[in-house]
């Protein structure tokens, strides 16, 4: 696949060369062709080097490149280059796949994602806050390697025994192994320096954090694979700018789009890379717009091509992923209650699937009432009271997403309690009813006290004993859009409950109650009578033995409705992941300084322990080079702005710093800064995409820094210094990896603060927990 691709590119460049050689000012072809030396094109690429060098000297704004480029390592010939890439590939795969089956028990979030992979194999419907692609791929990998989906993944530490779990882990590890390779190629494209690319790859290959996070059944390796692939294709696409609408141009454009869809389909964090590509594209279009040699029609063509490749295509793929998700998961499962009644009727095994129940609501029936707001819960009550200081101290009424016997309510007339004999009367629009909670026999009640969270609304409680309460228990039932005397259809009628005494309407605010309310959703009585889904309800279950059951041909929802609904449910779920009290919450500023890792497996001395923590040497080097990068860019841009004349080599370097480095810095910022504004619970592993960008930036920065040794030393010494610097860097990364590798590959025995441990003396920060 790879060599085919390169071959195609070669052909294209050949054609270009003959047709309009002046367009071929793109000297950046060179490394691409060098890489392809696997294919028999050696003579051609040599040919092209001379040709391009010749052209670049004609080109006024890049005239410096040809001469300065000779200083770079890539001029040393092709075989070391090929060796470098092969070395990166070999090291990357071997470090990631080593001891892949260890430990043979469930580690950390494998309990979620492994379980969800199994759900796909079993075709059981579930709910998760992330989009489905990652878990589908895990499920697929498991299926292909003979895993049958029967392992329950109940909690971390469960032994896998006979199960074929290696396939899922191996799949993630293989994707994770591509990260250093992609990073190598990206940096190579951006800086044209093999040294920079190799430094980046070494940093990532020997980072214990990247190894650990790639080795388990997690979404992160899949996510990062797509992120890096998207960036790589974007960078490659940028290189094609002088040959628009050629096959390779289209190829990289489409590949970018595909990878964007992949990244967003695994986790919503993929949005950040979409932003990165979006900003890059806007910049590119702005450049095209300013190019007055292009007609407006050409600009429009460029624009439309990007709309198709980067918006429509990813959107289509993303929707397709969801379509597959819904087709595959057609059995009822643990996720049902999060979705609307209509949605549930699609799922085999759900009580609404081909349901049969009395068609019209009647007095004496037992019902569940579901809020129509998307992801709204069932009207719920339980034996607990509102705490002191929150309205009056009566029984709580909430909305609850799960199916539960506490969701059952009895429908009564306003005056009598005992159901009559004979066929029961039907409830009509405008009737005044009383709802009795079946389990606790309290009536649904409201009064002029403030609701617990939405202070403008009134509190809703459970009141009375055995159905005897007061006039505040009376509710007028209205069918939306109905007239007096209309019957209430189960499932299909939208109804509202108007409180008789205060005139307010039963409402679910969607806000999560604090601990005393078991983190269920608040139910209030709203004095604003606007018709919103929050104040509309439908009757979902309906049990009345005295009425004949009718099979309901429930309206199956449209695919787009399902799609929209599941997204809103996911977003709600995501923002609902609030940090709990007493739980150790990781702060974004902890991450770049490698303040604290995550325990993947094992706590005690006897257990097999794996600890997710970045190689401190790598991470602190990354942190330092961020500062270094800013200083170098500041110095470079002030010099240029002030109009000092620079040598061609310096101009080349500052271009790489500002363009390539700028892109990577933007990537780092986009993948890191937004976490400061997030209210949801955060973990250390959220930093890893940003860390990839940071490492690539380190590669470029350190390389240029070492290359600038001739600013202070004479030529022979400056070259030596450069070599020495590179060797020191390589050796220190290798040695630190040797020291810290037990974090990834597992350790047993005493803990680090005891002298007999393998990690003795390596607990450089008190906050590390190994």
């Amino acid at each position: 696949m790879f060599s085919f691709l390169m071959a195609k590119e070669e052909c294209i460049s050949q054609r270009n060369k003959t047709e309009h050689s002046s367009i071929l000012r793109n000297r950046k072809n060179i490394p691409t062709s060098l890489k392809t030396s696997q294919a028999p094109f050696t003579s051609v690429s040599k040919d092209k080097i001379s040709q391009t060098a010749g052209h670049s000297s004609e080109d006024d704004n890049q005239s410096s490149n040809g001469s300065s480029a000779q200083l770079f390592t890539r001029r040393h010939g092709e075989s070391p280059v090929k060796v470098l890439l092969l070395l990166v590939v070999g090291l990357s795969f071997s470090t990631r796949l080593y001891k892949i089956t260890e430990p043979p028990h469930v580690c950390w979030d494998e309990t979620h994602f492994g379980k969800m992979g199994s759900y796909y194999i079993n075709r059981t419907f579930f709910f998760d806050v992330h989009p489905p692609l990652g878990k589908m791929l895990i499920g697929l990998a498991g299926y292909m390697t003979g895993y049958d989906g029967t392992f329950p993944f109940i909690k971390p530490g469960d032994k896998y025994e006979q199960q074929n779990y290696w396939g899922m882990r191996g799949f993630c590890a293989v994707l994770g192994s591509f990260l250093p390779i992609f990073a190598y190629l990206i940096v190579l494209e951006l800086s044209q320096s093999h040294t920079a690319a190799f430094i980046t790859a070494i940093l990532l290959i020997f980072d214990t954090g990247c190894i650990t996070i790639s080795q388990y059944i997690l979404l992160d390796p899949i996510l990062m694979f797509f992120i890096m692939a998207a960036v790589l294709s974007m960078v490659k696409f940028n290189q094609q700018r002088y040959r628009p609408f050629t096959a390779s141009w289209w190829f990289w454009l489409v590949l970018t789009g595909v990878n964007l869809a992949g990244a967003f389909g695994v986790k919503f964090v993929g949005l950040f890379v979409i932003l990165l590509v979006g900003l890059n594209t806007i910049w590119d279009l702005w450049r095209l717009l300013g190019d007055l040699s292009l007609s407006l029609v050409d600009v429009a063509k460029h624009f439309l091509a990007r709309v198709v490749g980067l918006i429509l295509l990813p959107l289509f793929l993303y929707v397709t992923v969801f379509a597959v998700h819904f087709v595959v998961l057609n059995k009822s499962g643990p996720g049902d209650g999060f979705f609307s009644s209509a949605f549930q009727s699609r799922l085999m095994g759900n009580n609404l699937y081909n349901a049969s129940m009395p068609e019209y609501l009647a007095y004496g029936s037992t019902i569940t009432v579901k809020n129509l707001r998307i992801a709204g819960g069932y009207l719920h009550s339980h034996w607990h009271l509102y705490p002191e200081g929150v309205g009056s101290r009566q029984q709580q009424v909430t909305a609850y997403s799960h199916k539960d016997y506490n969701n059952l309510w009895l429908v009564h007339r306003q005056d009598d309690n005992n159901s009559q004999s004979g066929s029961p009367d039907l409830v009509r629009h405008g009737d005044i009813i009383r709802l009795e909670h079946k389990e606790t026999t309290r009536n649904l009640h409201s009064h002029l006290h403030e609701a617990p969270l939405t202070k403008k609304h009134f509190q809703v409680t459970g009141y009375g004993i055995n159905g005897t309460g007061d006039t505040n228990d009376l509710w007028q039932l209205e069918v939306c859009g109905g007239r007096k005397g209309d019957l209430v259809k189960v499932l299909r009628s939208k109804v509202r409950f108007l409180h008789r005494a205060t005139g307010c309407v039963l409402y679910s605010s969607g806000k999560t109650l604090p601990k005393w309310g078991w983190e269920q959703v608040e139910v209030t009585c709203s004095p604003y009578l606007k018709e919103t889904p929050s104040s509309q309800w439908n009757i979902e279950d309906h049990i009345n033995p005295k009425l004949p059951n009718i099979s309901l041909s429930v309206l199956k929802p449209h695919f787009l409705e399902i799609l929209l609904e599941s997204h809103i449910v996911m977003i709600r779920g995501n923002s609902g992941l609030k940090p709990k009290d007493n739980e150790m919450n990781s702060k974004p500023w902890h991450w770049p300084i490698n303040y604290q890792g995550l325990r993947f497996s094992g706590v005690n001395e006897t257990e097999y322990r794996v600890y997710l923590l970045g190689n401190p040497v790598v991470w602190w080097l990354n942190l330092a080079s961020l500062g270094l990068y800013l200083i170098m860019v500041a110095v470079a841009s002030v010099t240029i702005q002030r109009g000092f004349s620079l040598g061609p080599k310096r101009i080349e370097q500052s271009q790489v710093l500002m363009r390539g480095g700028g892109l990577l810095l933007l990537g780092w910022l986009l993948h890191y800064a937004p976490f400061y504004t997030m209210g949801r619970v955060l973990y250390y592993h959220h930093y890893f995409p940003a860390m990839l960008f940071s490492s690539m930036l380190t590669g470029i920065t350190v390389d240029i820094l070492l290359n600038s040794a001739d600013l202070i030393l004479q030529p022979p010494y400056s070259d030596w210094m450069q070599r020495v610097g590179q060797m020191v860097l390589l050796l220190s990364v290798l040695y630190s990896f040797y020291l810290f590798h037990p974090l990834s590959y597992g350790m047993t025995g005493p803990l680090a603060h005891e002298p007999g441990s393998a990690m003795a003396g390596l607990k450089w920060m008190d906050s590390w927990e190994f």
């Binding site: 007055l292 007493n582 702005q641 109009g643 803990l751 680090a752 008190d766």
Partner: protein, 722 residues
């Protein structure tokens, strides 16, 4: 000499009469009948308590903002002779005659009034005409919400004033000829007003950042200007850095210096601060700790306070109650005496430090100090039990070890009561354990676990006190491990009975201890940023997106018996004008930019620069004062939108002028525009008059008239049922 003196001596003064006129009108609208209503209005109830505390010089901590704003309000109160003796407990409470309401409200009202001439001048500095300047001033003058917000003891008007002043003086600096040195006074003024704006409310920070951005761009152009010498560029850059970065930071710290030197008495919020901080305040802890011995010695009687960063302080505590034999979940305990952390001062918080090898519980003469690394035993003062830990799961955190007061039940569970003193903030290896200053970890010798506050409350059997456990060092870290000695005295009585009496008596001896201002500043600043308010919704709170369309209002005050009331409602017409101009600017800017990129220069460069500068200041100002609210999770109110709104009022007339001079070419179009503008101004005035009764709280309106003013269904206007 005589040659220099030229006669006649002439003074020429140019007075902009329009400017004077709008200033006078602004003063009249903001200051007339300022002491009506003579009652606590809305957030005065909140700021008032701080003003009272300033008057009494009692320390407090307020997480809503830095102290300068409160100090400005307190200055007004001080000038009016307010003695701090008024309880601000509810909105609508009448002020007694001893409180000078006028002086409490005059400073914010003055700031609010001065905003009007300031926008006039600012428009001129943006290089628009006097007519535009007048338009901006009129829009601000007739904005009901700004009037309401200015007329009470609130801070928004002060913030708006300072931010506008910062931009005005910066532009003055930028527009002044490069040769004059006087212009650096304007730059300095700009830096000072930025510091003051941040000192009033943290929202000022965003305007400051915008100003820095604009200044950076200007400086960047200066750096690129080859006609200026290197030396000159360096000097100018240094001046800008000093005025816009160094001075504001120093001033910001200075506000805290003032705050801390004004408030030197202990008060209700003491307990949030560290012991060392509290000891620096008069009264409170310092009264107790004044004259305590500094060095902890064998035989010392101490209370140990947890330095956990949570808000409630607590002290290591034990009492005559044992752990239940079995917990609710069936797990067993050692059934020894409970050791907890107790959030109140109590005689049971006293512990005695004992040398493991000796029996005495009194201090030798001379005292033998305890040093880092020493092994000690801790004896509970009232029950004489030894602090003990062992391999039994703790009641609420089963992964950690239980800590108990050792009781020997003869069940082969030996006492493990040796603890090693580990001073975590030591400077030398043999440092002496110091009262208040030293933060100590107590490491259990047998198991090398550390004494720790787990943060969980015990159930009923533990009297809901906080659980104390011992946890292995590798798991536990952070401040929940540290303890410091708060109260301390040298024990003198060997007999248990005498010792009990001694523990009950207060401590006394003399030493004076101080912590530096910087330590206090950093601690206070950290606490202010870290304190999280209880997430609660207010009846009148609103979401940022509702502000643009003014979906909600806020009822500020309702007369005790009549329908007279004051609401925060903006002038709906001006509000609409502001939104329209925001939209129009963005559209226009987009069109201009696209066309320029394709090589069509619609505007001459000077006009384009003026247009861009207008956008940077006004649209930029709106963005930085509005967008951050979208990301905030705190309770927000309509008045948070007012600073952003002022920028839009600045934008509208300037944009109209731009349209008039550069977009409309034919005379008829221009005339039509003038007619439209006059009509809009007229309707602005009419709607201002219409809402006046709700702005000034008089005259009283009937229920029907009030209903007529409810232009939107979502507005909440109060009617009294008669």
């Amino acid at each position: 000499m005589s040659a220099m003196l030229q006669l006649p001596l002439v003074v020429t003064a140019q007075v902009d009469l329009v400017l004077v006129l709008v200033s006078l009108l602004a003063l009249w609208t903001r200051l007339s009948r300022l002491s009506y209503p003579n009652a606590v209005v809305f957030d005065e109830v909140y700021y008032g308590q701080f003003v009272s505390l300033y008057m009494k010089r009692v320390f407090f901590i307020d997480d809503s903002g830095p102290p300068l704003g409160h100090m400005i309000l307190a200055l007004g109160a001080y000038l009016g002779g307010f003695d701090g003796n008024f309880v601000w407990n509810r909105i609508g409470a009448e002020y007694p005659s001893s409180v000078s309401v006028w002086s409490l409200r005059v400073l914010p009202a003055l700031c609010g009034a001065l905003c009007v001439p300031l926008v006039y001048l600012l428009t001129l500095e943006l290089r628009f005409s006097h007519l535009s300047a007048l338009g901006a001033a009129v829009l601000l003058l007739l904005e009901n919400s700004l009037i309401v917000q200015s007329r009470f003891m609130l801070l928004e008007s002060v913030l708006i004033f300072l931010v506008l002043l910062a931009f005005f003086s910066y532009l003055r600096f930028h527009n002044a000829p490069t040769s004059s040195w006087f212009r650096y006074v304007w730059l300095l003024l700009s830096g000072v007003s930025c510091a003051a704006a941040i000192g009033v409310k943290y929202m000022g920070l965003f305007s400051y950042l915008l100003l820095l951005g604009v200044a950076f761009l200007h400086t960047w152009n200066l750096v690129g200007d080859q006609s200026v010498s290197h030396l000159n560029v360096c000097v100018q850059c240094v001046c800008r850095v000093v005025c816009l970065l160094v001075v504001p930071v120093l001033l910001y710290v200075f506000w805290f210096y003032l705050h801390l030197s004004l408030l030197n008495r202990s008060g209700p919020h003491d307990q949030l601060m560290s012991s060392a901080f509290q000891a620096s305040l008069q009264g409170g802890l310092s009264r107790i700790t004044q004259g305590q011995p500094l060095e902890v010695a064998y035989g010392s009687q101490v209370t140990l306070r947890s330095s956990a960063s949570q808000l409630i302080p607590c002290w290591l505590h034990s009492h005559k109650a044992n752990y239940p034999v079995r917990y609710e979940n069936g797990r067993g305990s050692s059934h020894q005496q409970q050791v907890t952390c107790y959030p109140f001062k109590d005689v049971n918080n006293w512990w005695i430090i004992k040398h493991p090898g000796r029996q005495e519980l009194v201090v030798d003469t001379p005292p033998r100090p305890v040093r880092h690394g020493d092994v000690i035993q801790l004896v509970h003062g009232m029950t004489s039990r030894f602090l003990n830990s062992h391999d039994v799961a703790a009641p609420m955190s089963p992964h950690a070890q239980e800590v108990s007061g050792y009781v020997d039940f003869n069940v082969s569970m030996p006492a493990q009561n040796l603890w090693k003193v580990d001073i975590s903030n030591r400077e030398a290896e043999s440092e002496v354990w110091k009262t208040i200053l030293s933060e100590v970890r107590l490491v259990h010798v047998n198991t090398s676990a550390v004494l720790k506050l787990s943060g969980v409350s015990l159930p009923e059997w533990g009297f809901r006190q906080l659980e104390v456990v011992a946890e292995k060092l590798f798991k536990a870290h952070g401040s929940s491990l540290g303890w410091n000695v708060e109260e301390h005295r040298y024990g003198t009585s060997q007999e248990p009975k005498e010792r009990e009496a001694e523990l009950h008596s207060p401590t006394h001896i003399d030493v004076d201890r101080k912590i530096s201002f910087w330590a206090k500043f950093l601690e206070l600043q950290w606490k202010m940023l870290a304190v999280k308010q209880e997430e609660s919704e207010h009846k009148y709170s609103s979401a940022p997106l509702e502000w643009i369309t003014m979906e909600t209002n806020i009822a500020y005050w309702l007369h005790a018996t009549t329908n007279a009331q004051i609401h925060l409602i903006g002038n709906p017409v001006s509000w609409g004008v502001a939104n329209l101009s925001l939209l129009a600017y963005q559209l226009l800017a987009a069109v201009y930019m696209l066309r320029r990129r394709r090589g069509f220069k619609d505007l001459p460069d000077a006009v384009w620069d003026q247009f861009v500068c207008l956008g940077c200041v006004c649209v930029g100002g709106w963005v930085v004062n509005f967008v951050p609210f979208l990301l905030m999770e705190k309770t927000l109110f309509l008045y948070h939108y007012l600073p952003a709104l002022c920028y839009l009022y600045l934008l509208s007339p300037a944009l109209l002028e731009h349209t008039h001079t550069h977009l409309l070419s034919s005379v008829t179009h221009r005339c039509a525009l003038c007619v439209c503008v006059s009509a809009v101004l007229l309707s602005v005035f009419v709607s201002y008059r219409t809402f006046c009764p709700l702005t000034y709280g008089s005259p009283e309106l009937s229920a029907n008239q009030l209903r007529g003013l409810r232009w939107r269904d979502t507005w909440d206007i109060l009617y009294r049922r008669r």
